[in-house]
């Protein structure tokens, strides 16, 4: 395998794993959101993410050329082989963390997909063109809720500011592959935080490692739950 195709494989894994881990985290909210309508909204977003993950990992498997399909890549890799950014895997301690993560992460995904949709790889461009429309809605959902929680009650404001402070350092890693996107990301996120009466944290500590397979322990637990059925019953179907 040439270095070039290896790079393509890694890039597709990073994109696919981002979407897959987000899908799994969002799926965990089904039946646990504050209201049934929000259950449906989050499940919709989870399924959008899962749909993108399947296309990206399926393509990654073909590029790799080692006979691994989307299921093999999703269910039979360990945490050290996952290439998602750390932000995706962080546990959602409460609804505020989920909402802020949705805003931060999906704003990044939208910009990344928009760039890829205009890129030279036609197959990837087609996947990205489909995903970018979905991302726009995900960002909107995160932004709507960030404003309501931030500019809501004292309790919701406190929790949402805590979520912003906790997640902000992890947003730096998102732009390691394409640093030029961060200004556009800031111009999406900062006005939302301002409208939500939330403080935009200072840039400082910037944990990273997800793209190299060095994850938080949270990913191990997430993968254990996601993979247990397939590992116990290979190829099981509903």
């Amino acid at each position: 395998m040439t270095a070039g195709s290896s790079t393509g494989f890694d890039r597709l894994l990073a994109l696919g794993d981002d979407a897959l881990v987000m899908a799994q985290r969002l799926g965990g909210w089904c039946t646990r959101a504050p209201e049934m309508e929000e259950d449906v909204a989050l499940a919709n977003i989870a399924l959008d993410q899962l749909g993108a993950a399947r296309l990206l990992l399926g393509y990654a498997g073909e590029v790799e050329g080692a006979g691994r399909d989307e299921d093999a890549l999703a269910f039979l890799r360990t945490d050290r082989e996952y290439r998602n950014a750390l932000l995706a895997e962080l546990p959602d301690a409460d609804f505020a963390v989920l909402v802020v993560k949705l805003l931060f992460f999906c704003a990044f995904q939208r910009l990344r997909y928009a760039t890829l949709a205009a890129g030279p790889d036609e197959r990837l461009a087609a996947i990205a063109a489909k995903a970018v429309k979905e991302s726009a809605y995900h960002v909107d959902h995160g932004a709507q809720w960030t404003v309501r929680l931030g500019d809501g009650t004292d309790e919701s404001h406190t929790r949402t500011q805590a979520a912003v402070d906790e997640l902000w350092p992890y947003t730096h890693e998102l732009f390691d592959d394409e640093p030029g996107l961060r200004p556009a990301w800031l111009s999406t996120v900062e006005p939302v935080l301002a409208e939500a009466t939330l403080d935009r944290p200072a840039d400082g500590w910037a944990p990273r490692g997800g793209r190299d397979g060095q994850h938080t322990e949270a990913l191990s637990y997430l993968l254990a739950e996601m993979q247990v059925l397939h590992r116990a019953h290979p190829g099981a179907r509903w």
């Binding site: 049934m36 309508e37 449906v40 919709n44 959902h141 709507q144 309501r148």
Partner: protein
């Protein structure tokens, strides 16, 4: 908290040229989120191109108790239907 979320009535226009039709109701904390919830609940399968949401409290409905007085008198007034009238000869586009 959820009991604070008011009820909204949802109207969807299936496609351009047709009227918005009532499709159901949902809970949401405000109009903007009601619109988004409606999108997620009622247009998942390409059911529409436009959505209205209206606070259920803003709808004034006729009462079942008034049904007789409201609707029954129309039952025997066939002359209100266009088919009651014979079209005169020589007026094809009437």
């Amino acid at each position: 908290m959820p009991e604070d979320w008011p009820l909204w009535e949802v109207f969807v226009r299936p496609r351009r040229g047709l009227s918005h039709t009532h499709v159901g109701s949902l809970h949401a904390p405000d109009a903007q989120l009601a619109l988004r919830n409606a999108r997620d609940l009622y247009t998942r399968r390409q059911e529409g191109v436009s959505i209205w949401v209206v606070p259920a409290a803003a709808v004034t409905a006729s009462s079942p108790d008034e049904k007789d007085a409201f609707f029954d008198p129309a039952a025997d007034k066939a002359y209100r239907h266009p088919t009651f009238y014979a079209v005169p000869e020589g007026a094809p586009h009437l």
